[in-house]
Symmetry: C2
Subunit: 358 residues, 2 copies
């Protein structure tokens, strides 16, 4: 599949924000980057993982930091290209394809834009099928791939190589480097073979984001019930999706600490009060104290009228929201995955209960 | 010069604590490491920088973190050797010699022990003639050498390479990595040529530490006035030294934050109250509010009776101390040096005034 028009970019960005579950970064900067590549005549090519050779060399490219900071701290095309160049030098071979670590406005659009800039394909997969706040929270890592050796850069030309004893430590080191450099750095993580990506990836997720974005645009254009159309599409995936709550934002409290965004959002509606907790991504939704959905199941918010998905940093007092719960990819619900990205990993005092059982 | 006996080690360690000006780390772990090498029949060879070839390859080896942590978090010989091996691999050549970044219990004894372990000489020089809390505060850096590219490791096998846009940023990155890994990591910094070391180093400082340690031991053995003998020796260097204060510790308040030790020590004596401020090293001494000595001039404390030098973390209520001021090496008093390691770099509201003018 070729990404070639501004409409493609807009659909993709919209779907990525939805699957980004409140995090993954504001897509604005990524959209500009990808649009600029397309306007310059380059194309982003999306390929299925099974078209890769087993010994292909694949990397993820991701920003590590506080999503709010991306809006203030731009990154240049030059830095992103330099990062790939440094990674190729460090690993001693040319990249065959890029892949995303997560689905989110920044960390999926940037690899797509870079793929266009470098004329290498981007694999239709990621390591979560959603966004997560920590580097070790990927199917790649859970199933046996390592996040490091990794190459990390920032816009000021600082360059770091990290080879951590564990992915959890890789996250701690990368996060602390990010905090020391203004809360946003860019890294080439999870060096993988084609075979590893086929086996360890969550597949088809870029396409899914594209379909979600297209569905929202078309339903809106046809004056349909956008949220209803979106729920119907999601339920076709074989994983349940449901409307958790509908209401108006009455309180947002927000804090950026340690290169992470934390927020608590209160939504009031006719069926009560819904509280959403955000740690870069939404981690739990409660209605009047009762849990509606918890991580790794996905909590996304869209504007009730337009169906436009919103990231955590876009939320403000007075917005009318629909909160959607969507079952995580089955990989993430396995016991070994819950030990890495289950509710207790976010400091929540809950064992995981699937959305459909709540 | 060959360091071969336990008495050599003890003299060196004592002198290093003195020149470490309250910081530089407790020498205990370094002494054990160096003694173990000597007991195994290896020898530490100290050479003058001018015996190095101009194109010799020299590195500093230093711990980055909170000195208090070294007492709890040991580092293995294996890790130190691995660090040198990784650095040699990264830089693509064998080390010709090691040198210290600073004079202090840890960061000078470790290179000496490593030199013995690897059978390579250690240069009789450092980058300060004392200890300083920040990586960029060296004559190497001030005169044009860069602290990075550097290789950093910890005892758990985490490995990092850092190439920072400035030495100040190198410090921020290294410090944050240290904080994320338990407040102590080990690094190979300031890759230098023999010519650079000859030009940029503060020379003869390991020998000076050795002489200070020997002077204290001999004066004590001969029941002389140890502090008096020490001051006489220091004044022979052509840089003034003086007794700033004599008294008893009446208060110590201490805090480890952000991989740094901070402390405030109050000493009461017949001539008033003396306050010492520590930021890993002593940065200012005041008597009844009047400044007695300030960084980069050196403030060291010794036990009044025995003349035993003490690091900041050894200070406790009730100790009888003599506080000694000693003029910094002339390199550190230059305007370009004061911009890097002068009082304002430590948050003090003073322009530098030399010890002899106070």
């Amino acid at each position: 599949m070729r990404i070639s028009t501004d409409e493609h970019v807009a659909d993709l960005a919209r779907g990525m924000v939805f699957l980004g579950t409140g995090g993954g970064g504001d897509p604005y900067v990524g959209e500009l980057f990808l649009q600029a590549e397309l306007h310059a005549g380059r194309r982003s090519t999306l390929i299925a993982a099974d078209t890769l050779a087993d010994d292909a060399f694949v990397l993820t490219i991701a920003g590590i930091g506080a999503p709010t900071v991306i809006l203030e701290s731009l990154v240049s095309r030059r830095t992103m290209l330099e990062l790939v160049h440094r990674a190729e030098t460090y690993f001693g071979r040319k990249l065959d394809a890029l892949v995303s670590v997560e689905i989110g406005g920044v960390n999926t659009l940037f690899p797509l834009a870079l793929g266009a800039a470098l004329d290498i394909p981007v694999v239709d997969a990621d390591g979560m099928g959603r966004a997560f706040p920590r580097l070790e929270m990927t199917s790649y890592g859970i199933m046996g791939c390592r996040a490091t050796p990794a190459v990390i850069m920032d816009e000021s030309g600082n360059l770091m190589m990290v080879n951590a004893a564990s992915d959890r430590t890789a996250e701690a080191i990368s996060r602390s480097i990010s905090a020391s450099l203004g809360a946003m750095v860019w890294g080439a993580f999870y060096p993988m073979s084609g075979r590893e990506l086929k086996e360890f990836g969550v597949h088809g997720t870029v396409t899914q984001a594209w379909e979600i974005g297209r569905c929202i645009r078309e339903a809106r254009h046809n004056s349909e019930d956008v949220v209803g159309a979106l729920l119907a599409l999601l339920n076709q995936s074989g994983r349940p999706a449901r409307l958790l709550f509908k209401g108006k934002v009455v309180d947002v409290s927000r804090e950026t600490r340690g290169a992470w965004d934390h927020a608590s959002i209160t939504v009031a509606g006719s069926s009560g009060i819904c509280k959403l907790e955000l740690q870069n991504e939404f981690v739990i939704a409660r209605r009047d104290g009762k849990v509606l959905c918890m991580v790794p199941d996905m909590i996304s918010v869209v504007q009730s009228e337009s169906g436009e998905p919103l990231t955590g940093e876009m939320l403000t007092f007075g917005q009318r929201l629909s909160v959607i719960g969507y079952a995580a990819h089955p990989i993430l619900r396995r016991p070994e995955s819950l030990a890495v990205c289950g509710p207790r990993q976010f400091g929540l005092e809950h064992d995981f209960v699937p959305l459909e059982a709540l």
